[in-house]
Symmetry: C2
Subunit: 412 residues, 2 copies
């Protein structure tokens, strides 16, 4: 049996990089990014290029009823496959790496296996999930349909901005709807992805060993006070909802900073009834609380709303709030996390465990099958942007880890 390090050695940095750049030409944007919106012609053209590469590598390509693409290399046995992948669709002004690295990294693993002349016990499947970005409709649709979190019939009736259903859009594509079984079982799912955050770059670490998808809860909070003239109204007699909301925001920021791995984001604020010389009537903002552990989110929620009640009492305002989204953490199984960590260390790459702050198809899949993720650095933490960048060396490091983890799992 070939040693683990040997497989990684068959990974070709130049071939990987050339494939990434070639894919980026489909829907290339003026400032060096890509525009391959899900369900678009560019999406279909990207699928066709990927399929042609897969067929050249000896894989059989199929799609399921929602257009998720599967490229299969047979194993010595017909057991449940190892599935590796991500997505080829992009934001309207997206980058060249988000999703693409995971799909083409999977293809590079297969090409490395081919070059090494290796058969594996298990089959390996490279997957391209439909509409991960959610720049139209909702994010991670394809993997949600795959796991049953989103009903296929419902997903197929969703209307795109041009008025077509996803069904008719997929039916117009060369690589649209096919006969691959929705939700076909797998042994394990692996996804290589750019971090889309600044941590690895900031710490000078090559590989993020992802412990799971962070959970989040999102709220809409409104303080209501009373309009009052800036001049005649003494401070002590005011009921100023913008001051209340500001105090709540300062508290929420400090709360997020006080707990390791927590995030608290207040990204919108709308003030009504005020003017430069009138105290406002109402201030509404959103709060997004994230943490890898569900109890930590619940604790933050409790602390925050207790503080809101205190603030309302002190400022003589009223506060109302509602939860508008709730996505529990999706922890990955420790054996998979440990395997990725050991392989990474064995290859000599610096690494750290980290939760994924953003949602990924892997988070959907992890609710049904064992799952692992590998992160590589994002320059400046920038993503969903034409300026998104991960160097050739950083990309290939991720693929080498992916290759050796895959090879281990393919023979387990």
């Amino acid at each position: 049996m070939t040693s683990i390090s040997t497989i990684a050695a068959f990974v070709s940095a130049d071939r990987l990089w050339a494939s990434i750049l070639a894919m980026a030409e489909i829907g290339a944007t003026a400032n060096g990014g890509s525009n391959r919106l899900a369900f678009s012609r560019e999406d279909d053209a990207g699928r066709s290029l990927f399929a042609s590469w897969c067929e050249e590598a000896g894989l059989s390509v199929s799609t399921d009823a929602f257009g998720n693409m599967f490229a299969r290399r047979q194993g010595r046995t017909d057991v449940e496959p190892l599935v590796i992948g991500s997505h080829l669709d992009t934001q309207p002004k997206g980058g060249r790496f988000d999703g693409v690295l995971g799909v083409l990294g999977g293809l590079e693993v297969v090409r490395a296996l081919n070059d090494a002349g290796l058969e594996t016990d298990r089959p390996i499947v490279i997957v391209n999930w439909t509409n991960e970005e959610g720049a139209v409709l909702t994010p991670m649709m394809g993997s949600a349909v795959f796991t049953g979190a989103l009903a296929l019939d419902e997903a197929l009736e969703e209307k795109l901005p041009d008025g077509r259903t996803t069904r008719s859009a997929l039916d117009a594509m060369k690589w649209g709807r096919g006969n691959h079984p929705v939700g076909s079982p797998m042994h394990c799912y692996l996804e290589l992805h750019i971090e889309q955050g600044p941590i690895l770059e900031e710490e000078g670490v090559a590989i993020g060993v992802v412990t799971g998808g962070i959970g989040f809860r999102r709220y809409r909070i409104a303080f209501t006070g009373q309009e009052a003239h800036a001049g005649p109204t003494p401070m002590a007699l005011r009921k100023d909802p913008l001051v209340s909301a500001s105090r709540a925001i300062v508290f929420a920021d400090a709360l997020g900073r006080s707990i390791p791995e927590a995030r608290s984001t207040m990204g919108t604020m709308a003030v009504t009834g005020g003017s430069p010389n009138t105290v406002a009537a109402r201030a509404e903002f959103t709060l997004d609380l994230r943490h890898p552990d569900a109890p930590a989110i619940a604790q933050m929620e409790e602390n925050f709303f207790a503080e809101c009640e205190r603030i309302a009492l002190e400022t003589r305002t009223t506060v109302q709030y509602e939860m508008i989204a709730d996505s529990p953490p999706a922890p990955f199984p420790e054996p998979v996390v440990s395997l990725i960590e050991d392989v990474t260390t064995g290859l000599g790459f610096s690494n750290r465990r980290m939760a994924s702050g953003a949602g990924h198809d892997a988070c959907n899949i992890s609710r049904l099958y064992r799952t692992g993720m590998i992160f590589v650095p994002s320059l400046g933490g920038i993503s969903h942007n034409e300026a998104e960048f991960t160097s050739k060396e950083e990309c290939v490091a991720g693929v080498r880890v992916l290759a050796n983890v895959a090879h281990t799992l393919l023979n387990l």
Copy 2:
């Protein structure tokens, strides 16, 4: 010579109240307020009613080149007159007392003098200033033209929302432009007005002895940070402008509360670039700082912007600001303030000194002539609203003070 208290005794509560209610019928609104927008037919109808009452009381009525109305009762000598007044125009959904009480209170003083059969040394003039409200164009236009703060020619070319100039609007009115000299000298100016704030009601005090118009400076402040994804971006690496702005607002609120008589108002906030799961790019808000003393405003300004710079440094954001308005305090002369205070106390009314937080014609006039103001309570501090209310007893208390102060000044 008739004693001071005798004049106040000739003030008729019923006559005053009936006049206020009759004026409120012109432009009466569904919810018990009045709509006599400056330059409108209702404004002119209000002027005609006022002029007819003045003529019945033996006054000669004239207007100046900007439509300010003057109703004169001769004195024993032809020296500079005592001028008493305010304005009869209203907000679109204005109340029955704002401005009206000062004009009709002045008329009631003349009626009381008539009933008492008293001549005075000085002439007395009741004034109705044009467009105090500024619900169209700018506030306190008539008194600004009178003092030269606003050039007459410029004011006459201003365009109303219906496209007419103020000149053509005034020329279409019965009581529009006339020959009374603009800026005619006066011995002293007195204005009785509702407080438009909650202090007198809150403290159970009958009369506010106004020490002057509060000054204000107004600023636009913008913090700029960096958009970032709520999930992948750790708290420590964020540059969150909404958190910076919230900290600045909390500071400004505490600053206003820490200084007696100060006001700090942050009535608007606009956040851009953010979303429920994206840190915003920019947060902009307005700040209005008020205090009766100019150095106190300058000190608040210095403290606030020093704090903004500290916040920007700590939050890794940048801050920009500009002053968008600067109106210095308009203190009234101590002898007039003391006289009003002594007369009020002599009449047995509870009273307190207070600065006027809102602007008034009296603030304009005070830049040229000695000026005093008398406040009576506003129910709930509500003004510029159909629900505006001051009781008959509260109104008449103000007019009795006005009458006795006027009588003193008329014979000085």
